[in-house]
Structure formats: C-alpha cells, structure tokens
C-alpha cells in the first residue's frame, strides 16, 4: 500500500492513518522527507506577510445608513418579517383541519411553511442518477488518492494534461458548490456531475499511466 498525498497530509496533521501506510512511511526516508516538505509548506503559508487594508474603507462603511446608530432600517424589516410569519401561520392553520388522506400527493413537502427553501432545492437535485454519479465521483477520488504522491519528474505533456483536467474539475466543483443558490436544475446538475466523472476517469488514466512509467 503506497501512501497518497492525502495519507501524508494526515500524518503531517497528526490525524489517524492506516497502520500499514504508517509503517511504509516510517520505513521510507523519502516519504518522511515528503511529510517534512508538506509541513514546511504549511509553515511557509502561515509565514506569508499580512496585507495592510486600503485607506478610506472605514470612512465608506461609516457612511452606510445601515451601520449608523439608531438607524431605523431594521424596524420596517422586522415588521415585514412579522407580517410574513403571521400570514404563513394563518395559511398553515387553514390547512390544519385536513386529514392526511385528503391531501393531494403534490402538497406534502413543498407547502409546509417552515420548510427551508435551500434544503428543498438540494433534495430536488438529488435524483437517483445524481446520487449514483456522486458515489462514482467519490470512488474515483478514492482511487486517485491511492495512486501515491506525484513524483517530482513529470514530462511537460503529462503535466499540461493533468493541470488542464484538474482545472476543469475545479471549475465544475465551483459550479456544483453553489448549485443551491444558483438555482441549478436537476438535469443541469446531473450533466455537470457526469462531466466531472468523465474528467476524473481521464485524470485517473493519465495518473495511472504516469505512475506505471515512474515505477510507482
């Protein structure tokens, strides 16, 4: 079992790691050096200098009515919220006398007033196909992480291909990450995830081929 970058990061961060992986790392100086390198990278990131905030920002903030003391902006907002809650409560009470068997199937979840909109949307996105694509994507991620950390020597073509694939995956991840707020339709989310699985497959093949050439 050859350690992946994820395994080496777990060791760096003192997180639990498979005993076999730990034994391999303990026996291999180059892997210990890699853990040290990851530790040094973290320290170097932490040592990067701070930025001085640009001048004038506080003056602008202080001018915004919402930040002024005694600002009355909250009162109408609170009134509007209270009115909305009251209206929803009335609607809910009007529906309450209905017995469950008189409700239409389509009125089960979507019309409960306390239901959180984003949760509804998330559930809407999670179709059986979407769930299976998520599982496949996770399986490919696991396989990829088992290849072992990338050696320093890599040819230009391979590096470009790997970088290109990773960039495309990252772009899809960004779109999926905000799918709840962007109002993505289930078929759009599925299409994105399917593309992600295809890209992950391609990335896995490239990394396998390179690992075999490099003797990993």
């Amino acid at each position: 079992m050859y350690p992946s970058t994820d395994d080496l990061l777990r060791i760096r961060d003192h997180e639990p790691v498979d005993a076999k992986v730990r034994a391999v790392v303990d026996a291999e100086p180059s892997l210990q050096a890699e853990v040290e390198r990851l530790r040094a990278m973290r320290n170097a990131l932490r040592a990067l200098p701070a930025f001085e905030p640009p001048p004038g920002v506080w003056d602008r903030i202080a001018e915004i009515p919402e930040t002024r003391p005694g600002s009355s902006w909250r009162r109408p907002l609170r009134g509007a919220i209270a009115a909305t809650v009251a209206a929803l409560a009335i609607l809910f009470l009007m529906r309450a006398p209905q017995s469950p068997d008189t409700l239409l199937p389509s009125t089960t979840v979507a019309e409960v007033p306390t239901q959180d909109a984003s949760n509804r949307l998330t559930r809407r996105l999670v179709t059986p196909t979407y769930a299976s694509l998520v599982a496949e994507s996770a399986r490919l991620e696991r396989q990829l992480s088992q290849i072992g950390y990338r050696p320093r020597l890599i040819n230009a073509g391979t590096a470009t291909t790997v970088t290109g694939l990773e960039d495309q995956i990252a772009l899809i991840d960004a779109q999926l990450m905000y799918s709840r707020v962007d109002g993505l339709q289930p078929n759009q989310a599925e299409a994105l995830l399917r593309t992600r699985v295809d890209l992950m497959n391609a990335l896995l093949k490239v990394r396998y081929a390179h690992a075999q050439r490099s003797g990993f």
Binding site: L9, A44, L45, R46, I61, T67, R152, S179
Partner: protein, 194 residues
C-alpha cells in the same frame, strides 16, 4: 507573519452593541488586517478583497447584537469574512483572470532570498484553482477542519481532503518546476528554473 485573529476586549464589543461609533471604529481597526489578508489570500484580487472587507464590517456592525460570545469575537468576524469570500468566489467563478498585485504586503522581509521565496509562494498560491486555494488557506493557515470547510462550501469532508491534497500536489509542481523526463522535452512553466 500573516494576520492573526485579534483579541477583542469585551468592553469594546459591549460598546459596539450599544451603537457606539468609536467602538465600531475600534473593531475595524483591530480586525480589518485579518479580514483583508484573508480575502487577499483567498481571492487574490485587491478589488474583490476590498469588497469583502467592506461587506464584512457592514455585517459585523449590523449583527453585533447577535454575537453570543461562545467563540472569540475575532473568530466570529473571521467566519463572516470567510462566508463573504466564498460568496465572492461564487459570483466570480466564470470571470477567471485576476491581476496579481503582490507587492503591498506589509511584513518586513529580512533578506532577499526569503523575499524571493515568499513571492514565489504567493504566485504559486494565486495560480491554484480558486476552490483549491480557498481550501488550502482555510485548512493550513486558518486552521479550519475538513468537516467545517466541507460545510461552509456545501460539500463533503472528503471533498475538502481531496482538494487539499490536489492543492499541495499543484503547489509542489509550481514551486519546484516540472522537469522533462528526457532532453527533447521542454520544461513546463514554473516559478523556478529546472
């Protein structure tokens, strides 16, 4: 050294809750370097970081009375800033290129070699895909757990872990230079010579 999470006196927070303008200004003075540095590291763009700085403090002042005191005030402000950064990433994911202005960091650099290494690291960090950059910064520098990062990004813990591993692999490539396996191949673009 990067911006630390500041210690904020409870009396300042209490005064800010009462709407004291001097206390608001003091909160800004204490916390703005942390917020702006976080935003610059996550977003790279100075303009986007400035937007985050402003939006964060508008929210801090608006919601200071909801601060429950179960974590340090600086950590509460940082969490708001992280959410603003993630919102910025969402709104900008399609507009790729950002200009890198890496010369206005304020920490004194003691020697030329160290300065060179830091600039190389800043550039490498800026070259990462934005999700990977956000994860590596939040985990390795800000100290968020993978679970917390997954939750903030609306993804899973394993997503955060794989992004971190990928970010480190990419950083290694960018900082060491990708070298050809044979003499007929060219070096890939790197921050140092092969």
């Amino acid at each position: 050294m990067g911006a630390q999470v500041p210690q904020v006196d409870t009396a300042v927070v209490a005064a800010a809750r009462r709407g004291d303008r001097v206390a608001h200004a003091r909160l800004y003075q204490l916390c703005s370097p942390m917020v702006y540095t976080l935003a610059r590291r996550m977003l790279v763009s100075p303009a986007m970081a400035e937007d985050v700085l402003q939006e964060t403090f508008v929210e801090v002042i608006r919601k200071v009375d909801t601060y429950r005191g179960d974590a340090g005030f600086g950590f509460w402000v940082r969490r708001i800033a992280v959410n603003k950064c993630l919102m910025q990433l969402r709104s900008s994911w399609s507009s790729r290129r950002v200009d890198m202005e890496l010369t206005d960091a304020v920490c004194p650099r003691t020697d030329a070699a160290q300065a060179e290494r830091q600039i190389a690291l800043e550039r490498a960090l800026a070259e990462l895909p934005e999700t990977s950059r956000a994860v590596v910064w939040l985990h390795d520098v800000e100290g968020y757990t993978h679970k917390e990062i997954g939750q903030m990004m609306g993804r899973t813990t394993s997503f955060s872990k794989s992004q971190l591993a990928r970010a480190h692999e990419r950083l290694r490539g960018l900082l060491s230079g990708e070298c050809p396996e044979d003499e007929n191949q060219v070096c890939t673009p790197a921050l140092t010579t092969c």
